[in-house]
């Protein structure tokens, strides 16, 4: 399951979608908007995406994980738009017969998502300024 949404992420629904009698393990990862980054206060983040390509790349992220590990099911949802501190920006869920694969695949999926899916965040700093986050671009620090 792949989804881009403007609405709050229902991670319970996402998790239920990967549960199965053939799975003994489920791993869910949530990315949430953190208040402090290197001592600076974040008030909110705005997420934008190249929708068509992001959906294609998210499907590749799922397919890649399913190629590497024997998984039962995977699901990814990424939120777009304006997110306040503490809100969930991304949820990745994976199930497998045994726990090692679920942990490894879950981690791999969020890493790949951050590397290759065309989604961008804009910082809304506490001092009122805004700043697109583009790792490696002049004047932009890498944010992990």
């Amino acid at each position: 399951m792949i989804q881009l949404t403007q609405d709050e992420i229902d991670y319970t629904r996402l998790t239920e979608s990967v549960r199965s009698p053939s799975a003994g393990a489920v791993v869910l990862f949530l990315g949430t908007v953190r208040e402090m980054t290197d001592g600076r206060e974040t008030v909110a983040l705005d997420y934008d995406a190249y929708h068509e390509m992001a959906l294609a790349k998210l499907a590749e992220v799922e397919a890649d994980a399913s190629d590497k590990w024997p998984l039962v099911a995977t699901a990814i949802v990424h939120r777009l738009g304006h997110l306040e501190v503490g809100e969930i920006s991304v949820a990745v869920a994976v199930s497998s017969a045994h726990r090692n694969e679920a942990f490894e695949a879950g981690r791999h999926m969020i890493e790949r998502l951050k590397q290759c899916v065309p989604i961008w965040k804009k910082e809304n700093w506490g001092d009122g300024s805004t700043e697109w986050v583009h790792p490696g671009l002049d004047g932009n620090k890498i944010r992990t």
């Binding site: 190249y50 068509e52 992001a54 990424h78 961008w120 697109w132």
Partner: protein, 81 residues
């Protein structure tokens, strides 16, 4: 030929538009496209070397030839998650 290029994030902000229309020679490749984009939109010149280019929703290197029938997009490094 006429080529429409979609822009995102800081590239869109700097250009002031999400879709630019460029005049490029036939058989223009992605590397040459960066040059045309910088010349037409000077605000993008500083980041043009670091822009990622997607052709038909796949990342394209500088040698790939662009074609108006396949969507082209330019954007800075991604930061989702």
């Amino acid at each position: 030929m006429k080529l429409a290029v979609r822009l995102f994030a800081k590239a869109k902000e700097l250009a002031g538009t999400e879709l630019v229309h460029l005049d490029v020679p036939n058989c223009t490749n992605v590397g040459e496209l960066r040059g045309v984009l910088s010349a037409s939109y000077p605000a993008l010149a500083a980041i043009a070397p670091n822009l990622l280019v997607a052709v038909g929703s796949q990342y394209a290197d500088d040698t790939m030839v662009v074609d108006p029938s396949v969507e082209v997009a330019c954007f800075p490094p991604v930061s989702g998650g």
